[in-house]
Amino acid sequence: MRRAIAAAMTRAKREIPHFYLSSTMDVQPARDWLDARNAGRPPDGRLLLGALFVRAVVLAAQAVPVMNGHYRDDAFLPASGVNVGVAVALRGGGLVAPALIGADRMDLAGTMAGMRDLVMRARAGRLRGSEMSEGTITVSSLGETGAEAMAGVIFPPQVALVGIGAPQLRPWVVAGAIVPRQVVTVTVSADHRVSDGRLAARFLAAFAQQIATPEDL
């Protein structure tokens, strides 16, 4: 497993001219919306913040299609749908990023169910070949606790990876007042053969817009 990751990451760093853009954003509205939505629901009906992030990436990828697709034979091939790769840490070490195939056709609850299924099968070693090869953009999330930012390595032949740091409680300015808020730092790693800072900034802005209005995800 480590050897396969090493080969893919070495190739990525050798061939892809990465560049990185970051933005720190207030996720308190998403957290509050999630708490209210999950209250009173049985565990199987609850959502995780990670599902909101994945859904926001899918919608941002649709808004900025140059971040979503494959780079092959010196050309970028935009994907028609969004198969969002979800980086999953394996217990005992290693990392896989299977794709949620057809994520653009899933609502938030469907996205959450799909992620649970992917994580379970990833841990059990029962992923499908298509899930390992047909991802069009990847999300790597540091979870609920841990480091606050990550600039990740793109999975070839994809052209973008979204690294989401663990939520941090920070003093934040909201409507002119300093208040404690949960914030996350989102870093997009992108392929400079395909996109540029202006387009990556547009992607980050689209993500921020989505996560600020969780009821529309």
């Binding site: 199987d44 990670g50 005992g92 649970r116 979870g143 609920e144």
Partner: protein, 85 residues
Amino acid sequence: MTETDMRRTFIDALVGVAPDIDPESLGEGDHIQRDLGLDSMDVLNLVAALHDRLGIDIPEADYPQIATLALAVPYLQAAGASGQG
């Protein structure tokens, strides 16, 4: 349910979520996230497994109450006794 049964139920659910955990070496105070490395999806699956086995619905605000074996057993016994879920 006796304390011994509740311990066994919790440990079974935990090992179901993270099969690499050795029940023999599990410490009373081992934190499921900080020490045992469960992520938020694992915690949700643990809560779902406890719901299935015990009929106890643990709200998100109470997740800290099941963070260690030492905390979880009395919490689940009290929740079971109060007829929750």
